[in-house]
């Protein structure tokens, strides 16, 4: 039973990291209507930045050239800042265009970043990656309790991001963001500089993803480019959609469910001995879950409560006849 608990702890930790990712994405899409399909880019920047800041200087045999050995806290903060900066850089060419441009360009950026991770050995260790990333308070917490401690840290991060999202939603800034989402022309008419507001929201969501990346780095203790594929962006989106976008609770619930689903399906081969077709079958099930949710619970499990007039117009417009 204790073994099960330990496994559950690690599943919960991963779910928590995805919840932070989903909360960030919720600020982009749920609150501001930004179609960010390169969320993993912020995640990766957060993870690599904290790793580079905290790992020791490289030895002769290691591929990377920088390791600053700074405290973990500095690394995490640095990871968040770096992710925010990337959001600014990505936002400049795309946030003034139609939303589809952001969608595709953000995927593109995430791909470019992955190739940088794979090729720039001096910075990222290349395909070999970075190892031996320190974990916070490693020496202080007893090893048998460490997993629980780290889960606690992750839960704390989820809580902070959740509280921030709630406050944001109720603040005047949050109302501006939603008005931008629902009807940009109206908010321009109101004299809001939508570019600036969109940029702020983009940065905030990016920082949250960076935080998730930093948490991942110190959890995994090793980073390789294979951990930063487009499927992370996709899983986060699935979580947000299933949970209910525009609603922070929905983002957390959705992220938790999708990770639980992914992990629970690991037990399928144990039950049925399906052997070689199981892995593909699992992915097919995740795909089906997405389609079914959108078809039958389009607003997710926890829908946003009120939907504005402009949003309705949008939906009617898409409805065609």
């Amino acid at each position: 039973m204790l073994e099960q608990l330990s496994f559950m702890t690690s599943v919960a930790t991963v779910a928590g990291i995805y919840a932070v990712l989903a909360l960030g994405l919720n600020i982009h899409w749920g609150e501001t209507g930004l179609l960010n399909f390169g969320h993993v880019a912020f995640f990766a920047v957060g993870a690599y930045t904290t790793a580079i800041l905290t790992i020791p200087s490289p030895t002769a045999t290691q591929a990377y050239s920088f390791g600053f050995g700074l405290p973990v806290v500095v690394g995490i903060v640095g990871g968040c800042i770096a992710a925010g900066l990337v959001a600014v850089l990505l936002g400049i060419p795309t946030l003034q265009l139609d939303e589809e441009y952001l969608a595709i360009v953000s995927i593109g950026l995430a791909e470019i970043l992955r190739h940088v991770m794979m090729n720039e050995n001096w910075l990222t260790g290349g395909v070999a990656g970075l190892y031996g990333i320190d974990r916070p308070l490693r020496g202080v917490i007893p090893p048998e309790a460490y997993d629980f401690f780290y889960l606690g840290l992750v839960v704390l991060a989820v809580g902070l991001c959740y509280a921030y999202s709630r406050r944001l939603k109720q603040s005047p800034f949050g109302r501006v963001l939603r008005s931008i989402r629902d009807d940009e022309e109206a908010s321009i008419a109101l004299g809001k500089h939508t570019f600036r507001y969109r940029m702020q929201a983009f940065v905030v969501g990016g920082v949250m993803a960076g935080l998730a990346g930093a948490l991942w780095a110190h959890y995994a203790t090793a980073l390789t480019p294979t951990a930063f594929g487009a499927n992370i962006t996709f899983l986060t989106w699935v979580g947000l959609i299933v949970g209910g976008s525009g609603n922070s609770k929905g983002a957390i619930l959705g992220a938790g469910l999708i990770i639980a689903f992914r992990e629970a399906t690991r037990y399928l081969p144990d039950l049925y001995g399906l052997g070689d077709i199981i892995p593909t079958l699992r992915l097919i099930l995740v795909g089906a879950l997405v389609i079914v949710t959108i078809r039958y619970r389009p607003d997710g499990l926890l829908p946003e409560r009120d939907i504005s007039y402009a949003e309705y117009c949008k939906r009617v417009e898409y409805g065609g006849e």
Partner: protein
């Protein structure tokens, strides 16, 4: 070191197939107003349909390639009916359609892998040996690929400008609501768009498979490149997609001469981002 024109030729071959597939993607985007992430899988399915006809049933390659078109089209139409149409009817937003297409993409890709495994497969066509023409190497098959692509692009141009269906498709793409007000049955146009889009994509899949190999990830691997081509040409613009596809194919292959080949996939996106900064409306966009 002198620049080897071989890179340019390789680019034209790769680019013309990307262009074909990108036309399908951009047409569907124009009419249905969402980015179809499953588009790459239609390309894969087209290639596998031809593969089964060619290798398993022993049909001549050209016949198999032709057979693949209606099969892929029928599949695309069936998937539209089952997956996308119910959402359209209920007035779901573009994002719901997009995420649904991503789910569909995963299902299709893995279903293909489940049925045919991840092993690369080849069409049963005669051994291709490159001939040297004016200092570059090209095979008869590759010449055919470029010719077929060009002919299809001209055919699409004629369709879009000379036929009522084509003009209606462009009209529906630019203003769906107004098309309805002009008496256009947009669902009928949606059907035709799938027919043309999936048909072109199936041919692109067969040509890419012919130029290289057929495997479950072939379409998904090209999806981002197709997106880049579409953006480069201006979203929803079929001519832009042709130009974008060719440019990206050439840029990728030529880049190998100058930078590490492992950065090749990033070339398309770098071009895309730079273009957006410089000319956000796409290569063909108006200067106003």
């Amino acid at each position: 070191m002198a620049f080897d024109p071989q890179f340019l030729l390789n680019g034209v071959i790769v680019g013309s197939t990307i262009a074909l597939a990108a036309i399908g993607l951009t047409l569907i985007f124009g009419i249905l107003d969402f980015i179809n992430f499953a588009h790459g899988e239609y390309l894969t399915l087209g290639a596998y349909a031809a593969l089964v006809a060619n290798v398993a049933l022993g049909l001549p390659f050209v016949v198999a390639a032709v057979v693949a078109i209606p099969i892929t089209v029928a599949l695309a139409l069936a998937l539209d009916r089952v997956v996308f149409y119910p959402l359209r009817r209920e007035g779901a937003g573009a994002l719901s359609l997009l995420i649904t297409s991503f789910g569909l993409s995963i299902i299709l890709r893995n279903a293909v892998e489940m049925v045919w495994s991840s092993d690369p497969r080849r069409f049963d066509v005669g051994g291709a040996e490159a001939m040297a023409i004016a200092g570059v190497r090209i095979t008869a098959v590759q010449i055919a690929i470029v010719v077929v692509s060009l002919v299809l692009m001209i055919a699409i141009h004629l369709l879009l400008t000379r036929t009522t269906l084509g003009v209606t498709m462009r009209a529906t793409a630019s203003n769906r609501s107004l098309a309805l007000s002009s008496g256009v049955n947009t669902e009928r146009i949606v059907t035709w768009t799938w027919v043309i889009g999936a048909g072109l994509t199936a041919i692109a899949g067969v040509l890419i498979g012919l130029n290289t190999v057929v495997r479950p990830s072939m379409g998904f691997g090209l999806l981002l490149v197709m997106f880049a081509a579409v953006i480069l040409g201006g979203i929803g613009d079929p001519y832009g997609a042709m130009l974008g596809g060719l440019s990206i194919g050439i840029a990728q292959e030529v880049s190998v001469a100058f930078i590490s080949a492992s950065y090749k996939p990033a070339v398309a996106f770098t071009i895309m981002v730079v273009l957006l900064l410089w000319k956000p409306e796409g290569l063909r966009g108006a200067d106003t």
